[in-house]
Subunit: 244 residues, 2 copies
Amino acid sequence: MIKVVFFDLDDTIVDTTKLAEMARRNAIENMVRHGLPVDFDTAYQELLELISEYGSNFSRHFDYLLRRLDLPNNPKWIAAGVISYHNTKFAYLRTVKGVRQVLLDLQRSGYRLGIITDGDPIKQWEKILRLELDEYFGGVFISDHLGVKKPHPKIFRKALRKMGVEPGEAIMVGDRLYSDIYGAKQVGMRTVWFKYGKYADRELEYLDYADFTISSLEELPEILRGLKLEEESEGGSDKEVHAD
Amino acid sequence: MIKVVFFDLDDTIVDTTKLAEMARRNAIENMVRHGLPVDFDTAYQELLELISEYGSNFSRHFDYLLRRLDLPNNPKWIAAGVISYHNTKFAYLRTVKGVRQVLLDLQRSGYRLGIITDGDPIKQWEKILRLELDEYFGGVFISDHLGVKKPHPKIFRKALRKMGVEPGEAIMVGDRLYSDIYGAKQVGMRTVWFKYGKYADRELEYLDYADFTISSLEELPEILRGLKLEEESEGGSDKEVHAD
């Protein structure tokens, strides 16, 4: 019987990718506004290339952007980018559509909820606290604390142990087939792939590890009701067998 | 004749110290609110001690605060501190009383304005741009770019050269007797000590380098009018001499 529902954070609970795109666009716009001598499209494309090469870790992107554009290292332009980037991230941080209602539904149905996520622990907690989501979750597990990344089993096992459940009593919901779905399945959990955002058509070689696929989180309560009914009917037939 | 008025940035143009204090208080308050198992006063005093030992550079303060309080490194508490710290810094960034009116007055009277400041160039530009102060200033000179700190003469000489004036044609306004006043005087500029904030009673051994002392920026236009009259009357007697 499922007792705990685990969620990935980015692009499952929090609408991270959409926000990051908005923040980057606004950053470039403000840099151009403050004198960056390049048109918006050129600068934005260069930034996207840079991010795909260096990863989305933010700290030195605007710095490197100027180098790539053969421009002097002008702190005014960088500051203009940083301001708009941060303002956007603070003002437009949002949950994925339907999240709060689903979390509430699941809690009311008696499920305990957890988060299993990669990323910088302080930044991940910033998102959770800014959105006031911490009340919903009985446990937040961030892989960096253990020196691993999903799909490493260590983070999943720790989450199960701390929540006091067996793998068969937990289900993992996440947008990434590799880190979330393959990772959770490896330790024996049920899995729900949330086909959403930039990973909606990637890592499909791990599709077999998904027990369910949803395109809206609102489908989740129905899946859990289905699993419960299934187990109850199995439990029922077990009893009949024992009664014999 | 004075042609350029240079200002220090922190605690002269921007009310930095007041803001930092507010931000730190709000940070501790939010950490306690999110479960930091220490009372406000204990945590706040510890933070102030830490800052006086490690300097006000922010990045690892909350981290170290937990260590000093013998508490586990809980990213939720750190995130709570970081959020309130940043929210406060963004929401309450203010100019020192009277700044905008004075800058406008000086511009109207034909003076060109500049900033000579220490600090991280991007962070300094962030303050200038967030407060939309950049329109007032013909030059912003940040010592970090040159690998020095005020009172090193290099930063003052560069500012003079870039603004195209001789030392005798410039006046420096700042809250620190050592870095601003002694520094500017060393290269031959006039100096106005703005007796304000936490340096209002420090570094008094450099008081002799201040040509003027003010406790409100609103006294500045009057000082400049006085200097102008003085120079005109001197210029007048010069002419009479030459006419002989």
